[in-house]
């Protein structure tokens, strides 16, 4: 749980992560216009998850996670769960926007 909270906090406090999420949501919105929001929202969430994990290694901060939680399976599980939660939030936001768009366009 501590790794999960830490990962979510980190994702929320990184400007690049927030920007990626906004872009993904925008892509979802555009896709929603064409009725395929769920596919692109999912891909966007996947891209955000990949980016945040890659950055952990690029900036070597993965070491700090492993020092806090030496069990790498738990770290992997927490990262997957954090990515899934971000994906759900992103999908819900995209769906709401897509629904509103479809309602306003009749």
């Amino acid at each position: 749980m501590s790794v999960l909270r830490s990962e979510l906090y980190r994702t929320a406090t990184l400007r690049s992560s927030r920007l990626s999420l906004v872009v993904a949501a925008a892509v979802g919105l555009v896709a929603g216009w064409f009725g395929a929001w769920w596919l692109l929202a999912g891909l966007g969430a996947l891209a955000v998850a990949v980016l945040t994990t890659v950055r952990r290694y690029r900036h070597r901060s993965a070491i700090l996670v492993f020092l806090g939680q030496p069990n790498r399976l738990r770290v992997l599980g927490a990262k997957c769960l954090a990515a899934a939660l971000v994906a759900v939030v992103l999908a819900v936001v995209s769906e709401v926007v897509a629904l509103l768009t479809s309602l306003t366009t009749g």
């Binding site: 830490s6 406090t13 700090l64 806090g68």
Partner: protein, 292 residues
């Protein structure tokens, strides 16, 4: 308490560590000295569960790091300076790590103040100087109030006041019963800081001893400068002393300063310098590792 027992690490045919054994005890600062590539960081990475040993054991408080209950509350580590996402502020970095280690927000603010980063807490770490990143790394290590500190080159990038701050911090930690293992190749700085010394070269431990024995326990010698070095040399050797020279001074072992002065008077050679010397840590280190 840290115990390293017969630790060996090989990468293919390369032996990075060969039967490394030493301890770091509570209440003392242990300096782990070696040249770059001597095996210091590999030892620390194994100790912290980041790399697996080929054989042997590395124990903290009697257990391997991976088996420790809440490791961040028992061990604080600085492995590389500047481990943080450059886009995150110093405070956000510490909160991220605090969530991981179970420390509270109050501890984050306390440590920001302790390491002198309160004013820069809202600045992204990409804009931090090397010294500021090192202070942030120390704050990260201290988050869980650990009893054991494992530090790899923590003085890199610190200015003189930063070094004084680090010395005070580590001395205070040790005097409160904490264990400090400090790896470095900055010998002059370590000499003012450590209680015990472990010297490693080419993956093998060459020396483990208290600093007082290492720096003061070598053979004392005299540094002598006189008008006629050749006659002085012969006179000293006649009474059984060992004499070497660097071209400017004679270095004499096996004589007291009084005896050397009397001999110089006896052979009527004026002496301009007569200084007793004991080897410092750097000289001992270079002798052990072959002065590479």
């Amino acid at each position: 308490m840290i115990h390293i027992r017969q630790l060996t690490k090989t990468y293919g045919r390369v032996t990075a560590l060969d039967d490394v054994t030493f301890s770091a005890v509570p209440g003392r600062v242990t300096g782990f000295l070696g040249l770059n590539g001597s095996g210091k960081t590999t030892t620390l990475r194994i100790l912290l569960g980041l790399t697996r040993a080929t054989s042997g054991a590395a124990l903290i408080n009697g257990q391997p790091y991976r088996d420790l209950d809440s490791p961040s509350r028992q061990v604080g580590a600085v492995l590389e300076q500047g481990i943080s996402h450059p886009g995150q502020t110093g405070r956000d970095h510490l909160v991220t790590q605090a969530l991981l280690s179970g420390a509270g927000r109050a501890r984050v603010e306390e440590l920001l103040s302790y390491v002198g980063l309160t004013a820069a807490a809202r600045t992204r770490t990409a804009e931090y100087s090397l010294g500021m990143r090192q202070r942030l790394a120390m704050a990260t290590a201290l988050l869980g109030s650990p009893s054991v500190l494992v530090l790899d080159e923590p003085g890199n990038g610190l200015d003189p006041s930063g070094m004084a701050w680090l010395r005070g911090l580590l001395r205070e930690h040790a005097s409160n019963g904490g264990t400090v293992l400090l790896a470095s190749h900055l010998l002059a700085e370590l000499e003012q800081l450590v209680d015990d010394v472990v010297i490693i070269a080419d993956g093998r431990v060459r020396l483990t001893a208290p600093l007082v024995e290492v720096a003061g326990g070598g053979v004392p010698r005299l540094r002598v400068r006189g008008r006629d070095p050749h006659r002085l040399w012969q006179a000293f050797e006649r009474v059984g002393a060992t004499v070497t020279t660097d071209g400017r001074h004679l270095y004499v072992s096996g004589l007291s300063a009084e005896d050397a002065g009397d001999i110089a008077l006896h052979v009527r050679v004026p002496v301009y310098e007569l200084v007793p010397e004991t080897p410092n840590l750097e000289e001992v280190f270079l002798n052990l590792v072959g002065g590479r």
